[in-house]
Each structure stands twice: as structure tokens, then as C-alpha cells.
Symmetry: C2
Subunit: 393 residues, 2 copies
């Protein structure tokens, strides 16, 4: 497969990397955070605001979009970029994670997964081939293979069998893309499926909390030669040490010249710890989800702006923060908005939180370039007050 990933700098004191990934819809500087646009919208935020936040890529959830509005609608609109009016890169997951966390009455066979969706209970079937078809129709710039995401805790035998199934499914995704990519390229009309031939496909490493399974899964994926590699099945309820270990077990077996994506995490310190372990890309609902609950991220930890202590606070959410919210609005006003259930309140915190995540990645990139990433990471993690932070090493 093509290689559109360029490694610009590597940290001497950790596995942190500074890279650049080229897609049909633009460049992504890594380490990168991808805001999550579950249902064709990053919750509370407009595409224009995403541009102003310097978000270089958003994630779309295949499962949610498949269930609603449905593939026919998105095909009719010429793909997800057109539908949601976002012309930057889009990474789509395969739907696997949501089938295993949201859908009901799942039945997994070699062929694929049958399930009832969580909205109207309609039955559906997704195979590796169908997962690729859907992502092609969405017009994904970076597609993910269909995987089974095992829960935590999970018995060794089940995790082993599941990782093998994920590897066989990954192979079928790889083959579908090879086959259909060639056919599509011979076609004349421009369409999301045609453009999908030039898009990227990432494999997903599974294996639960077992070092040898993580290694074997990584090796199986690398053998299939993907455009990038994700660590899946992390941040599913396991202790933070286990999450780090899952990444540490797989990472040495991934090629350095391909991007690595730690799926579905995390807190700001977790992302820095993952960067230090060689990860390049992240997605997480925390900045948008916590904002809707009145919680803001700062370098000193999270703030719950509902608290009475902020009622008369004239300061911004975070001193010296360059985001639009902090430049213009006080904690006291935002607290009032949240207490009064005004939509502007969650909008303002969402903008701040996304800025906070995106800015952390920007800082990390600069620190890697300057050779100071490891000090930066240690200082940041030490400053950040959270109950489950892992100790500074």
C-alpha cells in the first residue's frame, strides 16, 4: 500500500514521534487529536468552529451513521464530507466497537456480526466486506478494519480466539479494498467509492490485556501490510497500567514508518503517556461529553463549573488560554449558563475543551521537535490533578 506518512522527528528520551500524514482531504500533523463526530456532527460544534480550532481531522462513527440517517441518505448526499459540510480529512471506525458496546442481541460468526441496533431494534448484519462498503460510501479518508472489541476483563482463551478472528476479518477487509479499489479506479465517475481507492486502511491490534496476544495480533496485522495500525480494545474499563501495557506489548512489532492510532482515549496525561509510547493519533469523546456536564479541562486538571465556588469568578476557565471562550467569557458567566441549562454554556466549554486537547497535541509536536518532550510530559503529568493518573516515571 501507499505510504503517505512522513516521520519528521523522533524523541531521544522516549518513543515519541513527530510526523505528518497526507490524505486526499489534507494533511494531519501528528501527534494528532481527532474530535469525534459520532452522528455526522462533533457534538455542539460547527465545521467552521472546527476549522478555527485548527482541527485537522474528525472521526465519524460508521455504526451510528449506518443506523441513522442510514447509508442510502449519505450516498444520496455524495458521502459524509458533503453531508456534514466538512472538507477536511475524516477517519471512520468500522462500527465494531459500537456493535459490541451499544447494539443488542449480537451474534458473532466467522462471516460477521448480526445485531439489533439501539435506536429502533432493527436487525442488521455487518461483515468485514460490508464494513468496507459502508466506509467507502461514507467517503472515508482513513478506514478501519472490522474488529471484535473484547470487554474487560476477558478470559485468555476468548481473547486469543477473538484476536484471531479479528485478524481473519482484517485480511478480508484488506482484500476487499484491493479488489474494489482496482475496479473503482477503472471506473470513470468520481464518487466516494472511487475516491476510496486512494484512501487509507488501518489494521487494529486486539488481544485484551495479554502481552503475547497483543504481540501476535500486532504481527498478524503487520503481515497484512496496512497503511497504519491502531491499538483497539483499550480504554474499555481496564486499569490505566493495563492500558499502557497493551500498547507497550504491541508497539515494538509495528513498523516505525507507519502511523499508530490509540483508539478511544484518553485524558490529557494518558495521551502524553501514549505519545511517549510511540502513539501518533487519538480520538476521545471526553472533551465534548464532559463539557455537556459542565466540566472543563485545564493543565491543572478538570474543573466542574457547576460548583458554587465559581459563581463570582471573573477569571477565564484557564488563565492564558488562547481559546475563544477564555478570551471572552468568565467562569461565573459560564457557571450561570450551565446552571440555567443554556446551550451556550456547553458550547463554550466544548470549544475550550477541544482547544485544550488540540493545543496539547500542538505543544507535544513542538516539544518533540525541540527535543524537550520527555520533560514536558513529566511536568504536565505531575501538574495534572486526576484521581487515576499513572505515576511519573
Amino acid at each position: 500500500m501507499q505510504n503517505d506518512f512522513e516521520l519528521l522527528a523522533s524523541d531521544q528520551h522516549s518513543k515519541a514521534r513527530r510526523g505528518r500524514l497526507k490524505t486526499a482531504h489534507g494533511v494531519i500533523d501528528t501527534p494528532a487529536f481527532m474530535p469525534v463526530g459520532t452522528q455526522g456532527s462533533v457534538k455542539g460544534v460547527s465545521p467552521r468552529e472546527l476549522c478555527e480550532l485548527n482541527a485537522q481531522i474528525v472521526l465519524g462513527n460508521t455504526y451510528h451513521l449506518f443506523v441513522r440517517p442510514g447509508l442510502d441518505v449519505i450516498k444520496h448526499f455524495g458521502g459524509l464530507h458533503n453531508f456534514m459540510s466538512w472538507d477536511g480529512p475524516i477517519l471512520t471506525d468500522s462500527g465494531g466497537y459500537q456493535i459490541f458496546s451499544l447494539a443488542k442481541l449480537r451474534k458473532i460468526t466467522e462471516e460477521g456480526v448480526e445485531f439489533q441496533n439501539h435506536i429502533d431494534g432493527a436487525r442488521a448484519f455487518i461483515s468485514p466486506e460490508i464494513a468496507m462498503e459502508i466506509q467507502a460510501a461514507l467517503g472515508s479518508d482513513i478506514a478501519m478494519v472490522l474488529d471484535e472489541c473484547v470487554p474487560y476483563p476477558c478470559a485468555y482463551d476468548y481473547a486469543a480466539k477473538s484476536a484471531e478472528l479479528t485478524a481473519r476479518w482484517a485480511k478480508r477487509c484488506r482484500e476487499w479494498k484491493g479488489r474494489n479499489g482496482e475496479t473503482a479506479k477503472r471506473g470513470l465517475t468520481d464518487s466516494p467509492v472511487r475516491r476510496f481507492a486512494d484512501s487509507m486502511l488501518f489494521g487494529i491490534v486486539q488481544g485484551g490485556t495479554f502481552n503475547d496476544l497483543r504481540r501476535a495480533s500486532a504481527q498478524a496485522m503487520v503481515e497484512l501490510d496496512f497503511d497504519g495500525y491502531a491499538i483497539g480494545g483499550v480504554s474499555v474499563g481496564e486499569p490505566e497500567e493495563e492500558m499502557m501495557r497493551a500498547v507497550e506489548s504491541a508497539e515494538p512489532f509495528l513498523p516505525t514508518h507507519k502511523p499508530r492510532y490509540a483508539m478511544g482515549l484518553g485524558t490529557p496525561p494518558q495521551m502524553l503517556q501514549m505519545i511517549a509510547r510511540g502513539m501518533d493519533m487519538f480520538d476521545c469523546v471526553l472533551p465534548t461529553r464532559l463539557a455537556r456536564n459542565g466540566t472543563a479541562f485545564t493543565a491543572a486538571g478538570t474543573l466542574n463549573l457547576k460548583n458554587a465556588e465559581f459563581a463570582l469568578d471573573k477569571g477565564p476557565i484557564e488563565e492564558n488560554c488562547a481559546c475563544e471562550t477564555c478570551r471572552q467569557f468568565s467562569r461565573g458567566y459560564i457557571r450561570h449558563l450551565i446552571k440555567a441549562e443554556e446551550i451556550l454554556g456547553l458550547r463554550l466549554i466544548t470549544l475550550h475543551n477541544l482547544h485544550s486537547y488540540l493545543n496539547l497535541m500542538s505543544q507535544a509536536r513542538t516539544e518533540i521537535e525541540n527535543g524537550t518532550f520527555d520533560q514536558f510530559r513529566k511536568a504536565f503529568v505531575a501538574e495534572y490533578k486526576t484521581r487515576d493518573a499513572i505515576p511519573v516515571e
Copy 2:
């Protein structure tokens, strides 16, 4: 009192007027629509978006802000402009309407109104003097006198007594402002109360659906010499004909050189009918409230974007609409957002609806200047499909 209202043009075929009202925070071109910022925020919209929509003034609800966050908080932040980060003009109502529509266990005496607020049931008392104090603390550019807003239907005797009480309360508001304005002007420190001395105070005409009471109320208010006159107690459930008649009964007794404000209305055709009857200013929650329910305003009437017919609609909410929503997003996408309960959906419709209202006022101003307002009004009302539109005359 000062007169900061300039009449720029008058329609030959109706009572429509084109004017300009100067306030300490900027100029308001009339006819003007004032978006409603009930709790210190126009629902779903940021101050920056209000600027981009060319909103020249917003309305703040004294009752809501008095109940939450409370006057101490707003005083601490130096007034409502600072608190909500809006530096354009603000008109505040007196709280009267909400006391009579939202609060519980009201007890009206000559002195004022005692009530339980609708949030935590705490008892409070508002007199004409307190209503002025609150609006001074909010830093209002245009304050309203405390009035009793009678329901529809209302017996003649009650409406008569109530209008007389409102007139006595208006006198007390006028006196409070005169007294405290002088004191404040002698003070040295800049504060919302100091600036309130230079703000405007509008009287409110009541009188229910009774022509003679409306006339008497208008005359009583004019005798007190306010900076502008509002028609209150309209759009409270009465038939549209009654609403128009209430305005027609009062308007001839209002001075032409002062602004007139028809409170709490209406649909786009209603506003044009009110402009034709000599009204200059409007406020209404319809554009923001209906947006949250998926309903958009267009020149052809309202659209409920939840309807299945829009699922595959690639067109904008309204053809040739210059708003940000219509320039970028399709009906089909917005329908999806509303069905999926995505906040962006109501944001996009809110922006369109506010643009629609503000743009209608801008059009009305141009048509008045060009001497074509009456044709414009008739054509607009005839085009607009709504169940309760009054016939074109």
C-alpha cells in the same frame, strides 16, 4: 426626557415609519427586531453570532435574571453587558410579564407584587422602585416600567382597574429614575447605575381588549412623558384581530417622535401588520423557540424539518437566503441533526430563523425608504402560509 429617536421616513400608504434610536451602546435602526436573551443568553447563540447576524439590540428578562443568577452576581460582574459579553444595546423588561405568567402565589397590592419564583419557590417582592433598581443594576439601555399584564380574556372592570394601577406604577418608575438619575450623575464612579441615568425608560400601555381603556392608558402614559411607549398585554392568547385592535386603539394617542414597541410578538406577517400600524420595535421568542423544535421560518411560511419529506433534500432551508446556515447546509442534513438530537441542528435553525426575522426588518426599512412598504407587506402576508394570518386588506 431626552429624545434620541430620529424619524427618517414615513410611509404614505400606512403608518409605517423608518427611524433610528440612539443609545449609549449603539444605534438601533427601526423597525427593529430584538432577539430575546431570557437568562443572559439568546438561546443557542453566541454574542459573536449576534453581531454577525447584525442584531443591533437584545432583550434581557429582568425576572429570570433576578431569580437566577440573582442581582448580586450581575452587580458583581458590573452589569449585564459585561456579564454576557455583549456590548450592544440591551432592553430589559420590568419583570411584570413573567411575574404574571411564570411565578406562583402572586399577591398584588398598590405597593407592588409579592410572588414565589418558579425555580426554587423563594418568595420575593417587586415594587416599581425595585423594578427600576434591578434594571439600573443590570445596566439596561432601555428600561421598562413595572406593569400588570392582564390575561385574555379579562373582564372590563378588572382591565380598567389594572390599567390605572399600571399608570400609577409607571409614575413611580418615572419619579424613581428622575430622582436617582440626578443623584447618580453627581456621583463620580462609573457604574451601571451611574450610566442608567442616561438610559431610556419606556411606558407600557395596557387595557386588555377594550378600545377606551387602551386609549386612556396611552394618554396616561404620554402624560408622564417617557422616552418611548410599548403596547403590552398583546399576544397573550387573544385572536389576531384583537391584537391588531389593541394597537390601533392606542397608537393615535402616542407622539410620533417617540419609538413604539409592540411587546412579545409575533409571526413575520404579524410584525409587518404591526409596522403598518405604526410600531417600531418587536421582541419574540418564536425564532429561537421554534428552532429548538425543528421549525424554520421562510417567506412561504414555516417548515418542520423533522418531516420525512426533507430526508433527501439537498436544498437549503430557504432558496436565496444569505444566512450562514443556508449558504452551507442542506435541509436533509439539518433534518438528520434534529432527528438525532444533535445540538448543531437547533443551532443552525436558530441562526436561520434569527436571520429571517432580522432580515425582514431590514427589508421593511428599505421598503419604507423606497415608498413601497405597503405593497411589500401585502405581498408578503399573501405568500406566507400560516393558519391564523389575518387577511390582506
